[in-house]
């Protein structure tokens, strides 16, 4: 598996792109983070499967499906470059985690944990959206490159990838 990951890592040098008006980008760092997420989530899924073998209440295929949704949202989070994508990927991750927290329906603790996590996560989502709305109202943009220009007067993208400048 690590040899396969090494081949993917070599491929990362051709994985630079900048699409949807710089909403989604990729470079060597984002690609490496995605590979690390895939490797460690695969290892962790193996550990979960070993645990599910002993616990008959959470032994079902939907668990793995929801777990894969979390991994996909993390991979999407690595490539995202504006607040909209950041919020969407965080919400996809959170909604999947709410389900997994309340997954063991025979346990009162699990249901209580799911409800508590949902309420606190909803409050946190409101705070994040309020902050994003303030920044959008001030700067007129939610793109991270534009916010760099708004904050510092220049963008690091212009120094690293001059040809990608819109």
């Amino acid at each position: 598996m690590f040899g396969f990951l090494f081949l993917l890592y070599v491929n990362a040098f051709s994985a630079n792109f900048d699409i949807f008006y710089s909403s989604i980008t990729s470079d060597i760092f984002a690609y490496s983070c995605k590979l690390i997420i895939i490797a460690f989530s695969s290892i962790f899924l193996g550990l979960i499967s070993a645990f599910m073998y002993f616990d008959k209440y959470i032994k079902s295929f939907e668990y793995v499906f929801i777990y894969n949704l979390i991994v996909y949202s993390l991979i999407f989070l690595m490539g995202v470059n504006d607040f909209l994508g950041l919020f969407l990927s965080l919400e996809l991750q959170s909604l999947s985690l709410y389900i997994l927290a309340a997954y063991k329906t025979t346990s009162a603790y699990s249901t209580e944990a799911g409800i508590k996590y949902f309420i606190l996560g909803a409050i946190a989502s409101g705070m994040i959206l309020f902050g994003i709305s303030i920044i959008y109202g001030l700067s007129g943009s939610i793109n991270f490159y534009d916010l760099e220009v708004f904050s510092f007067g220049f963008s690091l993208k212009d120094a690293v990838h001059p040809t990608l400048t819109l």
Partner: protein, 43 residues
């Protein structure tokens, strides 16, 4: 960037733009802290 809004006119609403900008990022950071740090520990 910034062509949609007249920042000079908006300064009537935001007397101190830097402070409001800081508050916006502060809300985002507190929200991320709640969502990824505090809320899972309350499970």
């Amino acid at each position: 960037m910034g062509d949609f809004y007249n920042l000079e006119a908006m300064s009537h609403f935001y007397k101190n733009m830097e402070f409001t900008y800081f508050i916006g990022f502060l809300f985002i950071i507190i929200g991320l802290f709640f969502k990824l740090g505090v809320a899972p520990f309350h499970m």
